[in-house]
Amino acid sequence: QRLRAAFHYTVAGLCEEVGQDTGIQFSKQAVAAITEITFKQ
């Protein structure tokens, strides 16, 4: 879970960056989904 928490923080930061490029927000659930995809990938 600790690794997931670290991944989640980093994924949220990267989503925010992409969001700034595209002018689109990410819901918390979308960030969580991308975190879990990355974690398992």
């Binding site: 670290a6 980093t10 595209t22 689109i24 990410f26 659930q29 990938q41």
Partner: protein
């Protein structure tokens, strides 16, 4: 912003079958970069999906719609 090298190393160690397996610094850096590319691509596809639906926020169903192709591509 990116994945911390030590955290990526920890993740890799968790998955090695043999505890004595070591990862070189460059390999950890490369893995961290691959993860970063993967996340940015997932986020960008989610954004694109939301934009095609004229929405200003990416939600789980946009991630759901891009997931199959994303997993096939990586």
């Amino acid at each position: 912003k990116g994945f911390k090298k030590e955290t990526v190393n920890k993740m890799l160690q968790l998955h090695f079958k043999d505890d004595k397996t070591r990862v070189s610094g460059d390999a950890v850096l490369l893995m961290a970069e691959i993860l970063k590319v993967f996340v940015r691509e997932a986020a960008a596809r989610g954004s694109r999906q939301a934009q095609t639906e004229d929405l200003t926020q990416v939600d789980v169903e946009h991630v759901e719609k891009v997931l199959p192709q994303l997993l096939l591509d990586f």
